[in-house]
């Protein structure tokens, strides 16, 4: 029971870490609270569904397509709808991202209806066995891929030229301008990286859970909690926040009752806001 609980929690937390990371980067670095994030995750799920139904592509492979398509969608959204209205302040970006969510949500409803969908790969029922505990294979692979992607995001930010430019605007925008970093380009790429992570999360989600436009709101709620737990724009913070939410929800479901699964995350978020408003890691970005 103890080990099974731990494994369930950490497997869920791995997916949440990846899911929260994109949202946290967008908010913490580009300064955009992306209310369409949940819709972008679910869009990734449906892209994988289409590729699975037409070409029989495994979601572990189609996540590459979700990532690419959502990256370009994110770049376009930033360049043509967010950037021109940045001067309007945060309220404008909230309205726009909410509008984008409604557009994506209704397109999904039109094409695929509101029914819950699932993708069942041939190995969906297989499990690994560790002592007397079962680890579902799809969840295990999802955890590994999520971990690798979080680490790749970190490497991208630390070691590439664009990553360094993004670090620069995150740390000191005026300083970044002084050394010739194109700030808007960095915000755009960072936002697009965030939406790509959303799309990949969607593909991974589709391999484990059922999905429909109804879960968009639930996902937005979760990424808010993860980002706030970890501290905005902080990669390891978002990862820690995701794992923590995984543990919180699993303990809620295990010890109190599954109807409390969602509530316990919110309770922890309120506690963090009261006592550690900068998040548990408590540092902005790498600063």
């Amino acid at each position: 029971m103890g080990l099974q609980f731990f494994i369930n929690a950490i497997l869920l937390g791995g997916l949440y870490a990846l899911m929260g990371l994109g949202f946290s980067l967008q908010w913490g670095i580009s300064g955009i609270i992306n209310l369409s994030y949940g819709a972008m995750v679910v869009l990734g799920s449906y892209l994988s569904l289409v590729l699975f139904n037409t070409l029989g592509l495994d979601p572990f492979i189609s996540l590459i397509f979700s990532g690419f398509i959502l990256f370009f969608l994110g770049a376009l959204v930033y360049r043509f709808s967010l950037q021109p209205l940045l001067k309007g302040g945060i309220v404008f970006t909230l309205i726009i991202t909410f509008a984008i969510r409604l557009v994506i949500e209704n397109i999904i409803l039109l094409i695929w209806s509101a029914d819950y969908r699932t993708i069942r790969v041939s190995y969906a029922g297989s499990s690994l066995q560790l002592f007397n505990t079962f680890i579902p294979l799809t969840k295990f692979l999802t955890f590994i891929i999520a971990g690798i992607l979080v680490y790749f995001t970190y490497l991208f930010m630390m070691n590439t030229k664009i990553g360094k430019g993004i670090q620069a605007v995150a740390l000191d925008k005026e300083g970044a301008l002084a050394v010739g970093v194109d700030d808007q380009k960095m915000y755009m790429i960072n936002f697009a990286v965030g939406t790509a992570l959303a799309g990949i999360t969607g593909s991974l989600w589709a391999n484990i859970y059922s999905f429909s436009p109804h879960i968009i709101g639930v996902i937005v709620g979760k990424v808010f909690i993860i980002a706030i737990l970890g501290g905005l724009g902080n990669i390891w913070g978002a990862a820690a926040g995701g794992i923590l939410l995984g543990f919180a929800e699993t303990s809620g479901a295990t010890f109190i009752g599954s109807q409390w699964q969602e509530a316990i995350g919110l309770v922890i978020m309120v506690a963090v806001l009261l006592f550690r408003p900068h998040g548990l890691i408590g540092k902005k970005f790498f600063g």
């Binding site: 030229k161 360094k164 430019g165 670090q167 620069a168 740390l171 000191d172 005026e174 300083g175 301008l177 002084a178 050394v179 010739g180 970093v181 194109d182 970005f285 790498f286 600063g287």
Partner: protein
């Protein structure tokens, strides 16, 4: 226009949105020249610098750099062309080490590591304390060391024109003397032109060859610093001589 001008500004009007700050600015910097801009708070000194660097875009007028019009160039393009900028308030990346800050200064250059290594060495030889602190976070440096790091960061872009906003602000006089010596050395040995904005008019007049006096967004006077130092208006308004 004369060919030996590195930078020339012709009839520049600029500001923030509807609020015009600079009026009909005429301005030039020759090769190997140190020029200072003096003026009270709100006179438009920093606004002028931001227009030269390209962080702000002017309403009209022309900015020429090496006889090429750069008025509509983006700030990364200008920095690539050789305009280095040490902004007011330093704006170092506090979360990064001193060396990473300096390397960030070379963001626009596409050169291999060996050349960057040599350029880092050049900066460390210029500002000796920085070498010892290369792996220390920039946020932990003292004010003077931070200013050295900011100027060093600007030098990493290999500028022909180095622009320093508020050189001495908040620094101890001994440190200011050190940095001033280094700047004069940079001009003499490297042939870099330098533009400084300085609150401490005495320091500005000591270091520069020529000066511009900015009042309410207009150039009201320009001359060699020797002559400016003797000017009655400068003496009473800026040097506190009665």
């Amino acid at each position: 226009m004369k060919d030996n001008n590195l930078l020339q500004i012709v009839n520049l009007n600029a500001g923030y949105g509807a609020i015009q700050v600079l009026w009909n600015i005429e301005f030039e910097i020759k090769h190997r020249e140190i020029v200072c801009i003096i003026g009270a708070n709100g006179a438009g000194k920093s606004t002028l610098l931001k227009n030269i660097v390209g962080i702000l875009s002017p309403y009209n007028g022309q900015i020429l750099y090496e006889n090429e019009e750069i008025t509509r160039f983006s700030s990364p393009e200008r920095i690539k062309k050789g305009i280095g900028f040490a902004p007011e308030g330093r704006h170092l990346f506090f979360g990064l080490t001193v060396e990473d800050n300096l390397l960030m200064g070379a963001f626009q250059r596409k050169v291999d590591k060996k050349i960057l290594r040599e350029d880092l060495d050049f900066v460390y030889n210029l500002f000796k304390p920085l070498r010892g602190y290369r792996n220390k976070l920039a946020g932990n440096l003292s004010g003077g060391e931070q200013q050295m790091c900011t100027i060093g960061r600007a030098l990493m872009s290999k500028p022909k024109l180095l622009i320093i906003d508020e050189l001495s602000l908040g620094l101890a006089p001994v440190i200011v003397d050190d940095i001033v010596d280094t700047i004069i050395k940079l001009r003499n040995e490297q042939g870099i032109s330098i533009l400084i904005v300085e609150q401490d008019v005495q320091v500005a007049l000591d270091i520069a060859d020529r000066g511009y006096v900015l009042e309410n967004g207009s150039v009201v006077m320009q001359d060699s610093t020797d002559k400016l130092a003797k000017n009655k208006h400068i003496k009473t308004a800026y040097l506190g001589v009665i």
